[in-house]
Amino acid sequence: MADPDLAEVATRIRRRVLDMCAGRGQGYAGQGLALADVLAHLYFRVMRRRPDGSYLDRFVLSTGHSAIGLFATLGEAGLYQQEELHTYGQAGSRIEESPLEGTPGFEITAGSLGQGLSQAVGMALGERLRGSGARVYCLLSDGELQEGQVWEAAMSASHHRLGNLTALIDNNNMQADGVTAEIMSVEPVVERFTAFGFETQRIDGHDHDALRRALPSAALPSAALPPEPAQDRPPEPAQDRPRAIVLQTVPGRGVPEFERHHKVHYLRLEQSAWAEAIAALG
């Protein structure tokens, strides 16, 4: 079942991403656009909020360069005003391209890749020890899987039976030097995470139905959802196994011109091009 609301939220996040880049004429637009869908689901459906509005569940952005997507999502959630987000990457702005821990909404310092999953493991251990019931979601990228620490963390997540941890892998086949499959292949990602003890599945990271099925809301268990065709339904998550969801994403998603662009890791464009991109979102 499609979820028009979340699709609309994702479009608004994309609009914010593009407006952020337009401020300085450059930025990690490709990543922000690619992650808009999963971030919309996490922040507007999956992660539970306390009565005061703060989030019970934790989101750990390990891909620091994708901060633009999180900033835009937090803007959509009301934590940042778009006027400030528009200063993205500008001198003196706290809307940094790769912010540090302490920036509102950012749990860790993540610009040096490969370190987020370890901290997410620590948080999952901590939340379990506290008995808070909180879940921890950690977003990594496929290129980041080349860092050995990711696998140290993966090993420890299953060893410590962290059923409250979900790793989300942004499989965009893009990294600084080019196409991930050519730089250093990380596939088969699903089999590798499975071998490390994760309950793993691969989905289209832009398919809202797939996102809804793969990321059941904690407040609304998957058992309470409308029945899905059996073959589409993931197995119920075991209580003591971490989960990994490999998100097949398209860098620049939503802007056809960007989707065709091969060097979308970092975009530097004329003002008119950003305006055209926003228009292309529809």
Partner: protein, 327 residues
């Protein structure tokens, strides 16, 4: 304020040649802290038996996390635990903490403001192995990390006090630690105050400044010098950061030369810190640095290594004598 007052505390210090040995002071302190503080957790990378945290693990199995041989992951996990309200103590050897996991210590533990402690064992030359295990560069690395508190305790009393201070530091702490039987020179109880220097011994003929085991070595040299009629003062600087530059400058002002002694490379730790504290004050005081020279140290027991590197009491006393013009 006189220099002696600036150098502040003068605890009761035992004769360095007759120090009592205390068994596993870190282990004892951690178990005590564990009983007092439910927020304190320990993360270990397959060295719990060799870093004196096995007793904590037995006493508080829920608050002890074994991560296997994976120090980078350990520091990240410690960071995650800190962010969920716990006070992590990540325990491993100093070489692994600062070399292999140096970036994780900085990014996961030191870019925020939460308390997190790295307890680093086998400091300096306290290992029979060579470059793989001798941490002769750790203090230099950690001293350059913004906001990092860096402590090199000199004995069992100070180690026990320092870990207590560290878990309440209000920020990241790098603490060197010794395992097994550790000499007790400072008579307990002695509160450890981060940043405070200690005047271990006073004398007007020569000045020695030490940190960690280096302060023990400085005391040994001072004892030797006393037998020859030279009264040497020994200032102990357990906290390399934040540095009590005022106390060091006050001490240096009393002497034409001071000799620094440390269980670390002569580059980047105590010797450098004293130079930095003295430079710019206009003091006519030379700083003679003694520590591990700028080369990989040999292998062997500590007394052999000290002799090889000019850090035994006799060599240090000779250095001090030369610095005073042969008095």
């Amino acid at each position: 304020m006189t220099a002696q007052e600036t150098a502040a505390l003068r605890p009761e210090v035992r004769d360095v040649t007759a120090a009592a040995l205390v068994s596993a002071p870190f282990a004892t302190a951690m178990v005590e802290i564990g009983h007092e503080r439910a927020d304190v957790v320990v993360v270990s990378a397959d060295l719990s038996k060799y870093t004196d945290v096995a007793p904590f693990a037995r006493a508080f199995p829920d608050r002890f996390f074994q991560v296997g041989m994976a120090e980078q992951n350990m520091m990240g996990i410690a960071g995650g635990l800190a962010k969920t309200g716990f006070t992590p103590v990540a325990v491993t050897y100093a070489v692994f903490a600062t070399r292999r996991a140096g970036e994780q210590v900085q990014m996961a533990l030191a870019t925020g403001s939460r308390t997190a402690v790295v307890a680093a064992f086998l400091p300096g030359l306290t290992t029979p192995f060579r470059a793989t295990h001798q941490a002769t560069d750790d203090l230099a690395i950690m001293r350059a990390v913004p906001g990092m508190t860096v402590i090199d305790p000199m004995d069992a009393t100070e180690l026990a006090g320092a870990i207590r201070a560290a878990v309440s530091a209000g920020g990241p702490v790098y603490l060197r630690a010794q395992r097994g039987d550790v000499p007790e020179l400072i008579v307990p109880p002695a509160d450890f105050e981060i940043g405070r220097c200690i005047l271990l011994r006073d004398g007007g003929d020569a000045g020695l400044i030490g940190t960690g085991l280096g302060s023990q070595w400085a005391l040994e040299a001072a004892e030797l010098l006393a037998g020859r009629g030279t009264q040497a003062a020994v200032l102990h600087v357990p906290t390399l950061k934040p540095l009590d530059a005022e106390a060091i400058a006050g001490f240096a002002a009393r002497f034409p030369a001071v000799t620094t002694v440390e269980n670390h490379s002569v580059i980047g730790a105590l010797g450098s810190a004293v130079c930095e504290a003295v430079a710019g004050t206009g003091l006519p005081c030379r700083v003679i640095r003694r520590g591990v020279p700028d080369r990989w140290a040999p292998a062997g027991p500590l007394d052999y290594l000290r002799r090889s590197l000019g850090l035994d009491a006799g060599s240090l006393a000779e250095t001090v004598t030369e610095s005073t013009g042969g008095r």
